[in-house]
Structure formats: C-alpha cells, structure tokens
Amino acid sequence: MGYAKEQLLARLQELQIDFAQYEHPVVLTVEAQAKYVGHMKGALSKNLFLKDKKHRFYIVSALADMKVDLKVLSQRLGLGKGGLRMAPEEALGEILKVPLGCVTPFALVNDSARHVCLLLDQGFKSQECCFFHPLSNDMSVAINFRDLDKFLNSIGKTPAYVDLEANPPVGKDQPPDLAGLVPSDAVVLPDPSEKIASSQGLEKNHISVNNKPTATAAKAVKPSNASQKERSDSAVNLSSSFGDPEKLVEEILEKTTSIVLSEVKEENMEKYQEQLGTMVSNSIRKQLSLELKSILSMFKNTSYTEGFYAGTHRQPKRM
C-alpha cells in the first residue's frame, strides 16, 4: 500500500537518526495522544493536511498549541484569502497513505506524496524533541528537529521552517513571503501500477522518491551549498563502507541526479534556456567537488590498506 511503520523505523535506524518510540492504543486526536505521551519528554505536534484550489497539497506540522490561521497562511503562500482548505479524507489515503488522524511529516517518504509541500513550525527548533506518528496511529516517535531534517533530506526534501505566528502584510510591494514553497506542479494522483512499484524495497523507493523537482525557491535564497550539502550529507549515511564500489557509485549518482533534478525546473528553464545545461553542470561541480574528492580519497585509502594488510600477511610460497 505504501510505506509501513516498520520500514520507516528501519530506515531511521539505517540513517543513524536518534529517536524514541512509544506504542499506545490507536489515537485519532492530539488530545488522545496526549493521554499516552503527554507526560513524556517531547512536544506534541498537530499536523494538518491541506489542499489549495489548484489541487496542490500541503502538510502543516506545528506545535500542538500553535494557532494556525489558514487564512493568513493562504495569503502568505500567495493563494489569496481563502485558498487553503482541509484536504478531503480520500486524499489522506491516496496521497499520504496514512489513516485518519495520522498526518505526519514522515508520510512524505511515500512516492505518492512527492509533490506535497511540508511546512514546519519554527517552534520545533527550540524543542528538545517533538512527537510525530510514524505512519500509524498506534505509535508516537519523539525526534529532534535536526534529526527530522536529516530524514527529510534523505528523501530529497528540503525542510522549510516557518514562523506560523507571523502575519506579514501582503500587497503590491510586499510579495507573499512563502510563495516560493508552493509546489510548482499540480499533483498527479499516482496510477495503480506506480503504487506497486513504489513499495518495492527501500533502495528503489529511495531512488524514485528523488524523482521530483524540489520546487523551493526559498532554497535559491539560502546559499545553495548548505542546503544541498545537508541533503547529500544525510543520504551519505546510507553507505558507511568505503571499500564497496557499487555503494559508492550509487551514492555519487544519487547526489548528482538529485542536483540535476532540483535545478531542472520550470523557472530555471525559462531563465537559462539553452544555457541550462551549462548552469546545471556548474552547479554540480560547485556542490559536489569537495564531497566527491573526499569520498574517493577514502576509497583509495581503504583499498590501499586492504592491499597492504594482505601483503604483510602473505604466506611464503610453499615449495
């Protein structure tokens, strides 16, 4: 159907992400969840699954007591005053692949959710950890925002933190401050064959999840080095061995393709036209040179060491 809770937890462990998990009876609301984990270390989150008039979807994940004003958010996203509504129930299952009451940033691991825009409450950053459902309502996972970022980066999403209390004026001279986060494509609901493909094994899903343009113009404002490196750094944790050419090639290809895919988007195509290729190449060089040199140095040193060890432990030829 989609990612299972166990697969997600296994993935978190693989990425060496710190988290705590708590099982409890199925809960459908934050109040109910609070009964079981409210006393634990960690802030509860409330997660809204929203949709705009152009059938684009958003997850707003905020501290439980944060007041989220949909009208304000809608304006800040450039959708006008009444542009955001709660998404219909069917969309939960079709796009996020989670049951009712289980909206969670982790749902983005599903390929079907690749165009969903995730807005995270800036307030998460000052919490030691926050609670989210790991794709099912019978468990809550406590995780620090940095580790959540690590996870999001590993699935090719750039975390977007927003001050949900802010209400900046939007007008002719003040463009909507969150407009850059709006997904550039309309969502295409996945057809059944894609659904099967997306649940086949971690590696494959990992690759297909990256096949989406990450349309965050906000990224262009930040020095792109940091956000790209952040993403590639966490994906890097997947291969801890430097002696395996296959794994390293996979890692390198993944980093490169993720840059290509994030740079080849409508606004860049318009801006650069035939020069798009050059621009993407330069981007790749700038962002990956250091990283690739580092990986290959480690590979060389590892190989040499293996040879050295073998050489020094060589048995003399038996006559």
Partner: protein
Amino acid sequence: MDKNSSDENQEQKEQVVNPWEVSAKGKIDYEKLIEKFGCQRLDPSIIDRVARLTGRPPHVFLRRGVFFAHRDFHEILDAYERGEKFYLYTGRGPSSEALHLGHLVPFMFTKYLQDAFKVPLVIQLTDDEKCMWKNLTVEESQRLARENAKDIIACGFDISKTFIFSDFDYVGGSFYKNMVKIAKCVTYNKVVGIFGFTGEDHIGKVSFPPVQAAPSFPSSFPHLFTGKDNLRCLIPCAIDQDPYFRMTRDVAPRLGYHKPALIESLFFPALQGETGKMSASDPNSAIYVTDSGKDIKNKINKYAFSGGQDSVENHRKYGANLEVDIPVKYLGFFLEDDAELEHIRTEYGAGRMLTGEVKKRLTEILTEMVERHRRARAAVTDEMVDAFMAVRPLPNMFD
C-alpha cells in the same frame, strides 16, 4: 635573529609565544611577532603565484590571511617552477584525545598543499614530547598518538604519499644519526635562549629539540628519500613552533642541507575571545570534532564572544565590532564563499544583520564540517593507521 634571555623576559610582560605557552594581554600582536621572530609576511603576490603554479584557486586560509607568515617560501616556489619538488613536514603533539577545530587547521592546509603541489608528506607524532612535558606514561602517550593519527587521517591525506610516524616507534637509525648531528651544532646556552629552559628542567626536555628538527632533513627518511639529499622541505605550522625551526635553519647549512622553509598560521581564537589559543583542557573554549550538532549550536550561542551591541536598537545604530566578534572570525576561517563573507561583514558591521543570524550560519557550517570529519574518521580502521605508519616506500609520492 635570536634575542637573548633578558630581552625575552621584558617582552614576556606583553605577550608570550613559544611552543608551550601562548598568552597575551588583549589580542596577540602578530605584526610584533613577525618582527620579533624575523619571518616574512605572506603577501598577495605570493598567493597569486601559488595559484598560478598549482593551477587552482588558493586555499581559503591563504586568501583570508590565516597562514600569514613564512620563511623562504619564495625559494620553494622558485625551485618548484624549475621542476624541483619538495616534501611537506608537519606534526602533532598528542596530548589529548579531544581534537578541536584549531588542531585541524594546519592539517587542512597541509592537505591542500599536498593536493595542489603533488608532493609527499611526513607527519610526526611527538608522543615522547608529551610524555615528558605532560608527564604521561609512555603507553598512554603512544595510545593518544594512534588515536590522534585517526583524526589526522580523517582530514583526507593520500596514503600513497603520506608517512605518519610516532617518535617512540621511529627514532633510531638514520633519524637518530641526524638528531645527533643536529645536537652537536646547538649549545646548551642556545637552547636555553630559544626555549627558556632552566636548571630545574630535566634533561629529557633539553635534548628534545633535535627530535623535532630531524624530520626537516630528507636523509632522516631513507626508505623514502634515498639519493635525494637535495630535496627541500616545507613546514606548515602555527607560528608558536617557529623557535624549533629557527634553530633547525641555523644548523642546516652546517650539515650540508637546505634550510627548511616555513609557512605559518595565526592561532585559532578561543570561543571566548582573542586572548590566546584554544586549549584542550577547557571544553568550552573550543569546538571539538566529537561535538554533536546540538553541542556546536549551544557552544556558539552561549560562549562565542559577540561583537554585537547589547541591545537591538544600539546594534542597529552602531553595528557590530568586527575586530572582536568571534563568530565572524570563525566564518573567516571556514566560510569558503568570499562574496558571502563580505556580505555578512558589511551587513553585520553596519548593524543590519543581527548576531543570531551570524551565529546560525556559523553553526551550519561548523556542523557540516564536523559531520564530514566524523564520517571520515569512522572509516579509519586500525589497519589503515598501521598502513600509514608502516615504514614502506612511496613510489608514487610525486605523482
């Protein structure tokens, strides 16, 4: 060039810089230091020359003046242009397991030099020195040497061009012969003058300087440089190591060797401010390579000395004092993008950017660096350390 003891004592009221102590009232005056030591400033024309000769942009530490002084670097470059190579020599005194960013600075720069000039490198771990000065047991200092070797290797040195050795392991043979030759050229009075030894210091200390001097001569490494007695040596180090090498340079011509060239760096300022160098004994004075992202954020936010004003209004009015602001200084070391650094300095100096933003950016950069280092370190096995430290030929060391 060397002042005698009484002059040194007068200077000591102002600032003290030697291999075992670095302190000053207020900021370290590097101009005075260059003058007192008698080394040269690295000027922009040399940096351009390096870029031309190596065919790549100069390292960020050169561009920002972190490595700011030298002795005879011109000659190394002249020889290089003629097709004569050289080898690099740097080292570490393994006194603690915890390495901080200040420790990594010379290694990061040395790696750049190795890659840019394509030359071999020897790294000396002075476990004997720490055993003597810090009163560690022999075993403990050897253990620390191996642990530190892992962090050094994690900086990315090329194993086919790098030889790491610890004094306890390697001293002997040709190395020891050079030590004795060097020792014969330096009188007791001289070492007292240079290093400030007293009658109470044990003889181990007094006889240590030749150990740190010997790697400057290629014949100390017969398995690497046989037949290359003419090979020059370039030593990247922090400026407090200058005394050792002034002594070595004095001795070299008498033994028929080239004087080793030096390229020297500033001290990495402590988090709390520019009055000295980072100390491994005060955990909040530095960012360690074992710090988590959380630790880094905490340390920067809590302990990094800010040049910002005490209130937002004052800050917007007067701007930040870039001279004493630590986060901006750290960015100077580690933010590669010149344009971005300039932007931050301008905005922060004018008061348009707040301290929090600068600290946030710094935290980002340092966290990324530390994580990359950790990953690399995790890949270093004991076998790899053994391989780096094995006395073996390096046939491709100039490739």
